[in-house]
């Protein structure tokens, strides 16, 4: 009995330690990325990871990633990394806000970074994104696109769609901007909204998207991480269209995805890791990533341009350019969701 127990213990240890472990020789700096989800979402988590990898290539530190889809494990993972003496612990997504707030004071020597949320503590750097500004452009692009009924799969109705993962404040911040952008182009544009209630059910995402197409939408924006893979697939299997999110998803199904709203988590994590490596990490501040500093943006739509050829409505590109300038210089003020604490 005792033997079995000890074998089990050893196994448990192995499983516990099992995670992405990349070693580098020329630095003893150690960085941990704690996720409220998994890598491979082609979206939020992957982007943050990419930024850290880029910094790792330059500065050569040890990088460890802890993934978990179970919310009760997120806090444990964060504490484990801080207790293990990691120099920088990056907590990815807004869902870590309270966790970082509660635990950062207990590890004054550990540097924390919170992506997509704000905690005002001396050893935390926060990065927030103006996803409402990016979504504003996406909504505007969708509203213009839905008027081009000469394009295959675009109907006469001025209806566009939006499918989100879980119903959380940051997603509403996307939604507010998306709606405002659509209405800015044409106040008559109707926006269909659905939430899948989960970030990892592509089947649900696909069905919700098909339902929106069915109710007259011809282009649907994906804000749903893993669930979103189903949204893009729906666009690919029907004559209709989708808009990607977080990373450049245009090329996943060329010709089905008009553009992607880029949220440069990679830029934020890169900058923070860089500051730690160069010794100029400055806690207690908030990095604001918005349209003006390239923290959010739309893709150049070149994939769609190629797919549609002459039919591609060039005016979308010029109008988006125009709107980008207007948002940057404050001529257009994009609303944000009141329940989302940006400051």
């Amino acid at each position: 009995m005792r033997k079995i127990f000890s074998v089990l213990l050893v196994l448990a240890l192995f499983v516990g330690v099992f995670s992405l472990n990349v070693m580098a020789q020329n630095s003893d700096m150690r960085v941990a990325l704690v996720l409220s989800g998994f890598l491979g979402d082609q979206s939020f988590n992957d982007s943050s990871y990419e930024g850290l990898k880029r910094a790792q290539e330059e500065y050569g530190f040890e990088l460890k990633v802890l993934e978990s889809g179970v919310s009760s494990e997120w806090e444990q993972n964060l504490i484990a990394m801080a207790s293990a003496g990691y120099d920088l612990v990056v907590a990815n997504t807004t869902q870590f806000q309270q966790i970082v707030k509660n635990n950062a004071p207990m590890f004054p020597d550990t540097k924390f970074a919170l992506i997509d949320g704000v905690v005002d503590l001396p050893n935390v750097v926060s990065a927030v994104f103006a996803q409402n500004e990016g979504s504003f452009l996406a909504g505007a692009a969708a509203a213009m696109f839905t008027q081009h009924d000469e394009i295959e799969g675009v109907n006469k109705d001025k209806i566009i769609g939006w499918v989100g993962g879980m119903d959380i404040p940051v997603l509403h911040d996307f939604l507010v901007g998306y709606k405002q952008g659509a209405k800015y182009i044409d106040p008559e544009t109707k926006v269909l909204v659905s939430f899948a209630g989960t970030f990892n059910d592509p089947v649900k995402g696909k069905e919700l998207t098909l339902s929106q197409y069915d109710q007259g939408a011809d282009i649907v924006m994906n804000v749903a991480s893993g669930t979103g893979n189903g949204i893009l697939e729906a666009a690919n299997e029907t004559p209709h269209y989708a808009i990607g999110v977080d990373m450049n998803q245009d090329g996943i199904y060329p010709g089905a995805i008009l553009t992607s709203m880029l949220k440069r988590m990679d830029q934020a994590t890169y900058l923070i890791a860089k500051s730690v490596a160069e010794g100029n990490y400055e806690g207690g501040r908030t990095i604001k990533m918005d349209l003006s500093n390239g923290g959010v943006s739309l893709t150049d739509m070149s994939v769609m341009q190629e797919a549609l050829g002459d039919k591609f409505p060039e005016e979308i590109l010029t109008r988006i350019q125009e709107l980008t300038e207007k948002v940057k210089n404050g001529e257009i003020e994009v609303d944000s969701y009141e329940g989302f604490q940006r400051n």
Partner: protein, 306 residues
């Protein structure tokens, strides 16, 4: 009327069928084992492993047929493993099922990382999906075409298998014996039926169904693998099985009912009703259905004892 037409229309029925297929396939496997007195909740894990194997094999061989076959084979292996634990080593099948479900989530994650060097999700243009079937003449008929044509091969297969399951259970000697084993194993044994062998065979069949359900999910319904992509559909299959009174045809109707509630919830949400409540619909329906199913099960067991 215009608004109602947006919610209740032919496409709602199409979505209902699409969403019921994975549930129905899992539930058929469950009906067979339940008839042999094994509640195989491990079907969820079998589906998940099947979904992974189907995508992996289709990716490497470029053949969805091989994808389905390997998924079925994997399903059978896992089901047999459970059967050995349960029948030979006398473990509680419920515990074994939970173990398999937990194992499947971590095991597929492990394979994803080690075979494809990715985490979370895997999709690739090289994954060859299960084809859609366009029924030649019916396709052109307005309403029937929308209702019957253009589904995935496995959607049709699922419906056929409902009737095959019915035939096996109620029209063959083998089915009679399976039911005999389930109702009263001692008399079955006395009557010269090898109870354990029958139970093994029932588990093998449920592995086949679970593998098919998984392959349909990852190669038919979508064309990708995502961690934990079954998302409780196997469990809904358990609910459907009880709600359908552990008979194939009624269980199929129960699966359609669950598919319908989810499809309706989706359409209502898109229409503008609050997502929180619309997302609840399938689960409320499940709770209600499983309650009704359990009451019926108790009644049936009472009758069996008399």
């Amino acid at each position: 009327m215009g608004d109602l037409g947006l919610i209740i229309n032919l496409n709602l029925l199409r979505a209902t069928l699409r969403m019921s297929t994975p549930i129905a396939l899992a539930a058929m496997g469950l009906v067979i084992t339940e008839q042999a007195a094994i509640t195989n909740i491990g079907i969820e894990g079998i589906m998940l492993i099947g979904a992974f194997v189907a995508v992996a094999v289709s990716y490497f061989t470029g053949s969805w047929v091989l994808g389905i076959l390997s998924s079925v084979a994997a399903g059978v292996v896992v089901a047999l493993f459970m059967a050995v634990i349960h029948l030979k080593f006398k473990a509680d099948v419920f515990v074994a099922g939970i173990a398999i479900n937990l194992f499947a989530i971590e095991f597929t994650r492990f394979l994803l990382r080690n075979i494809f060097n990715t985490a979370g999700s895997f999709y690739d243009p090289n994954i060859v999906p299960i084809p859609s079937i366009t029924i030649p003449i019916i396709d052109k008929i307005p309403v029937l075409g929308t209702l019957l044509s253009g589904f995935k091969l496995t959607d049709y297969l699922g419906i056929i298998l409902v009737f095959v399951t019915y035939f096996i259970l109620y029209k063959t000697v083998w089915g009679l014996r399976i039911r005999f084993v389930g109702i009263h194993p001692l008399s079955a044994e006395t009557g010269g039926v090898h109870v354990n062998i029958k139970k093994y065979q029932a588990m093998i069949l449920s592995g086949i169904f679970g593998g098919l359900a998984g392959a349909h999910l990852s190669l038919g319904y979508t064309r990708q693998f995502i961690e934990n992509m079954t998302n409780g559909r196997g469990f809904i299959g358990v609910a459907a099985m009880y709600f359908g009174g552990v008979t194939p045809i009624n269980t199929w109707f129960a699966s359609l009912f669950f598919g319908f509630t989810e499809a309706l919830g989706n359409n209502l949400q898109t229409f503008g009703l609050p997502s929180q409540f619309m997302l609840m619909i399938p689960y409320i329906a499940t709770v209600v259905a499983i309650t009704i199913g359990m009451i019926r099960k108790q009644k049936r067991e009472k009758n069996n004892l008399l």
